[in-house]
Every structure is written in structure tokens, then in C-alpha cells.
Symmetry: C2
Subunit: 349 residues, 2 copies
């Protein structure tokens, strides 16, 4: 590409690179400031001839309304914030997109940030968004104390929590039925003859992990199967430790014949372990994973609908802004058991 010289950076001190303002447009069109405002906003009461002149000046100058000033004046930003754990996680992609679509339908833009599962970073992000006066917030919480949001909510920032409940404040929450999903998944294994079933999940301080563990316990109890401590591994999530945990469960004195995995990352690692294992072990995982049907055997999962979570949350948010929603609620979306083979294997050994 030729080395066409570019503008010499933005000159320090210039604001917005000296963009034309309505005043400039008005001067050029020979009309008043307010008339330009009217044309820009499509307000009535402007002669076609005047409008044409103004439009001409706008095009000639490359004028674009400064929404910062507009926001300052009007009080609404037409933007909402989304704070999630990690934009790169395949679970959050569809969720973000769903929130974005709802926002778009309401003429709002989406500002989003990743908390990286760090409560401080979550708070920092949320408050930065509040400082920009987003109209509302969709938060997938990393922390468990959200009292810092109280003044914001009181000041009118619509807020909906997703995937996990808010901590120590009363707010709208949209969740998957983690308990029921896990219970059904484990019951599915039991129905296929398993009694020694392992559970590998995240730290129970994370709400979803705790609920799924509870579902596992409930299913076992319903079937009258006492759970051994060696069958449960909690709080491991990095691949190396998951691998060890799985191997121990499979090798112990009371080896499991099936494993229930608490989230997609764990599931993937366990699939790798089982692929190397000598005899077939049944597996049901929480969260769907791509290509799960192409593996041998296909992976049976408890799928949750990330897009529906996002959509539901965003819709509630805009209903809060309408004023049609007055009472915080907790909404639980159902999960779906998708059978593909790995969960239907009979007990071996």
C-alpha cells in the first residue's frame, strides 16, 4: 500500500478533531441553531425549502450529531451494559448476541466487558458503565455482594442478573434450572443401571456449581444410593486436575461406572480421559458442546439455552425501563437432556 500521509494524528487540544457542530451548520445554511436541531431530529415545523438548505449544509460539512451532548440534555443514553465473565467463552457468545438483538430492537447499543471471574473487576466495570449512565445493566455476577449497586438501582438504572443470582440485594434474576437439569442428568444415568456415579464440578461458592451438585445429590438420594466422598470432586476446573480427579474415580476401590460433569470445560477434559480409558464409562455433561454428536460415542448433555437466558434478561430489563415491571423476580428456564450415546452406555466392569 502506498504511504499516503494521513492526518497528523489528532492534534492535541482539538476536540473531536474539530467536528462541525449544529452552530456551524446553522451558520452555513443561514438559519438558526434550533432549526438545524429540528431537521436533524425530524421534528415538524420546518419548510421543505429550509430543510433542503440545512440538509445541504449537513452533507457539505459532514456533520454528525454529538450524542454525548444529546445524552447530557435528554438524560437517556439509549445504551445498556453487559458484564459477563469472558466474551471468548462459547457459552457467552450467543447470550451476548441475544442481549444485543433485544437492545437493537429498542434502539439501544450494547457496551460490554469481561469480569474474568474477578469480583473487583466486575464492580469496576459496572461502575464505569453507571458513570456513562447506561440505561440498564445485564450482569453475570462474579462476586457475591452487590450492595454497591444499591444507589445505582435507586437512581433508576434497570438491572437484571443472569446465570447466577445477585448477592445481598433484591434484583431480577434469570437462571437456568441448574438443580433440575443436573438431577435429571444423573437420574438418566441411574435409569441406565449405574449406581456408582462420579461428579466433577466447579467450586460450590459459584451458585451454578452448587446447584448442580445439589441436583446430583438429590438424584442419588431419590434412588436410595449413598454417595461416597471419593466420587465427588469439587472446585477443580483446570484440565490437569480434572484429569487426575477423573482417573482417581475410575481407579479407586469403588470405581465409578459413570461420570456427571458440571460444566463444558470439565466435560471436554473428561472426554479426553475416557477416550484413553480401557473400558467404556458413561458420561453426561452439563452444557452442550459443539460437535458432541460426532464423537464416538456422541456425548449426552444437559443443555441450557444461552440465547434464551440473554433474551429473557434483556426483555425484562426493557420492561423495567418501561415501568411495567415493578417487582424483582427470579426466573428459571428449563434445561434439556440431549441423549447422544455416552449417557446411555450400560455399567461396565
Amino acid at each position: 500500500m502506498p504511504d499516503t500521509p494521513r492526518r497528523a494524528g489528532r492534534l492535541p487540544g482539538t476536540r473531536y478533531g474539530n467536528r462541525p457542530t449544529m452552530k456551524d451548520v446553522a451558520a452555513r445554511a443561514g438559519v438558526g441553531l434550533k432549526t438545524v436541531s429540528r431537521v436533524v431530529n425530524g421534528e415538524p415545523g420546518v419548510t421543505p425549502e429550509t430543510e433542503r438548505r440545512v440538509q445541504e449544509a449537513i452533507d457539505a460539512l459532514g456533520f454528525r450529531r454529538n450524542d454525548s451532548a444529546r445524552v447530557l440534555r435528554k438524560g437517556r443514553t439509549a445504551s445498556i451494559g453487559l458484564v459477563l465473565e469472558d466474551l471468548a467463552d462459547p457459552f457467552y457468545g450467543p447470550l451476548s448476541r441475544a442481549v444485543e438483538e433485544v437492545a437493537r430492537a429498542h434502539g439501544a447499543l450494547l457496551i460490554n466487558g469481561s469480569s474474568a471471574e474477578d469480583p473487583d473487576r466486575e464492580q469496576e466495570l459496572v461502575l464505569a458503565l453507571c458513570a456513562r449512565r447506561v440505561d440498564g445493566l445485564v450482569v453475570i455476577p462474579a462476586g457475591d455482594d452487590h450492595r454497591y449497586l444499591e444507589p445505582e438501582i435507586k437512581a433508576g438504572v434497570a438491572t437484571v442478573f443472569v446465570d447466577r443470582p445477585a448477592g445481598r440485594i433484591d434484583a431480577d434474576v434469570v437462571l437456568s434450572d441448574n438443580f433440575g437439569g443436573a438431577r435429571d442428568g444423573v437420574a438418566h444415568l441411574i435409569a441406565h443401571g449405574h449406581r456408582r456415579i462420579g461428579f466433577i464440578g466447579d467450586m460450590p461458592r459459584i451458585h451454578t456449581a452448587a446447584e448442580r451438585l445439589r441436583g446430583y445429590r438429590a438424584a442419588m438420594e431419590d434412588a436410595g444410593i449413598p454417595v461416597k466422598g471419593s466420587w465427588m470432586s469439587l472446585g477443580v476446573t483446570d484440565p490437569e486436575r480434572v484429569r487426575r480427579a477423573a482417573e482417581e474415580m475410575l481407579a479407586g476401590p469403588d470405581p465409578v461406572t459413570a461420570i456427571f460433569t458440571g460444566n463444558n470445560r470439565v466435560t471436554v477434559t473428561v472426554i479426553r480421559v475416557l477416550a484413553e480409558h480401557s473400558h467404556a464409562v458413561a458420561l453426561v455433561g452439563f452444557d452442550d458442546i459443539e460437535l458432541a454428536d460426532l464423537l464416538q460415542p456422541g456425548v449426552t448433555v444437559v443443555a441450557q439455552d444461552a440465547a434464551a437466558l440473554g433474551r429473557t434478561a434483556a426483555e425484562r430489563l426493557f420492561r423495567q425501563l418501561d415501568g411495567t415491571l415493578l417487582t424483582p423476580e427470579r426466573i428459571e428456564l428449563p434445561t434439556r437432556l440431549v441423549t447422544r450415546g455416552s449417557g446411555e452406555l450400560p455399567p461396565a466392569g
Copy 2:
């Protein structure tokens, strides 16, 4: 959850739900407006005692600085816009995240939107972002004419295009080496004895698709293999048509012994087709896919580094804002051939 009454929506007419301003804080602390500003911004020249009083008032009132007003005054928004095709696509997740991280390192927030591969929607989004006076834009273009951005760029909006070049304007671009990657992938198949190699890719009007097709042709030509029209399928991307295209290539009078797929969606579908096929067909795909190593055989791919694309683009953007970058450039990042089995199968039949 109990039906605790919430504030009755935002009262119409109230701005920001009557949030306290610096003036309120100043009144309560019994100091001047500017002193509050100084405390909020950590500027020097305030006695510890005064600062304490101000801080107290801030906490008591739940004051949070209004960044809209700040932006209006200062001219910089400390936010950048990212326009991509689809936030839910696993390719863009890591890219977004990388852009976000760089933005964060520069104290900026990220506003993003999906164009859904629609040029009009791309333009609408970009202009909405410009109206908010984002400091810069990272754009994965859907359209092929970006002259509408000229006034914006002239006005000082830093702009970097990613994944595909800009149309009809001179701007920074960060791309993967689509041509070289595809050429190497196809050459890899040729090196393993294949001569009848199929290509299934997206519409050549999309830059990446055209480049990959060019790479395919180049590799074949380098090996002195004339390409038959029946080996190429362009512009198909929905699963059903990809399936048919693959089946035709495999069944025709000159059946292919290997297929090169032009993107991850096509690759996934072709994997499904090959899984049902009677004899082994080699496969190399452009773009990596998760769990590709667990399939039988593992899927050989030409991987591009989405995060590196995003990071590089964002870094260039902030260098533009620094003023240290004066000339638009075209940067090409290398791809990487990841061999896992499917690309090393010998020709069958």
C-alpha cells in the same frame, strides 16, 4: 421472592432518576463545585480534611460522576467501537475479547454490535458509534464501500479494519494470510499423494473466501494439476447445500479423494458427510474447531489466530490515537497448519 415494591419505574421527566450532581455534593460538604471535581478526579490541591468532607458527602449521596458531561467537556470518550459479523460466532469471541483487553489497558470501554453480514446494518452501526464519538473503530466489514467513513476519519476517528480489507478507502487493515494458508493446506494434501482435491467455500465476493480460493488454485497450479470445475463449490454455506456439494464431488465421474473446506462452518458439515461415507476421504479445513483432535480421525486445519487479529488491530488503533502511526498499512498475520490425521490420509479408491 417477596414482592418488595420497587421504585415506580423511572418517573418521566426526571433525568437520571434525580441523581446527585457535583453541585449537590458541594452543597452538602460546604465547599465549592470545583473542589468536588478535584477530589473526584484525584487532582492535587485539596487539604486532607476537605477531601474527607467531600468524600463523606459523595458516599452519603451515592454520587457518581456523569461521564456524558465529562465527555462533552473533554472531547474524548475513552471508548471504542467494534463492529463484527456475529458476536455468537466462535471465531469472533476471542477476537472481541482481545480487543477488549487492549481497550482496557488503555482505560477504554468497548461498545460492540453485530452487522449480521448486512452492509446497511454495518453502516448504521458504525455511524451510531460515531455519533457517540467513540475514539476509534475496529470494523470487520460486511460491505465493500466504506467511503461513508471518510468524514469520520478526517474528523479524527481512528479506524482499523480486521479480517477483511476496507472498500474504496485507504485505511489500516489487519488480515490473516488467507492465500498462503489455503495454499499450504492444499499443498499438504498434494504432498500426501492427492491429486483430485475438492474446494468448498463461501462467496468469492467475500475477501477471505476469494483469497482462500486463490490459494487453492495456486497450490494446484504449482503442482501442475489442472482443476476441474466440478471440484469447486463456491458460495454455498448453509449445511444442506454444503452437504449436497460434498456428496456430488465424492460421487462424480472424477471423484475427489480429498476436500479443502473454506471455513469452520463448512468444515463441520463436511465432517458429518465424511463420517457417513464408505471410504476414507482426506480433509483439511480453514479455521480451527474445538474438539477437532477428539474426532476419528482428528481434523487437520489451517488455524488462524483470532485473538492475535483482534489484539493487533486494537493496538494499531491506539497507536493511531497516540499520533505515532501516520500511514495506513496492511498487515498480514501468518496461519498455522495443525496436522491431526484427516489431512494425512492417503488417497483411497
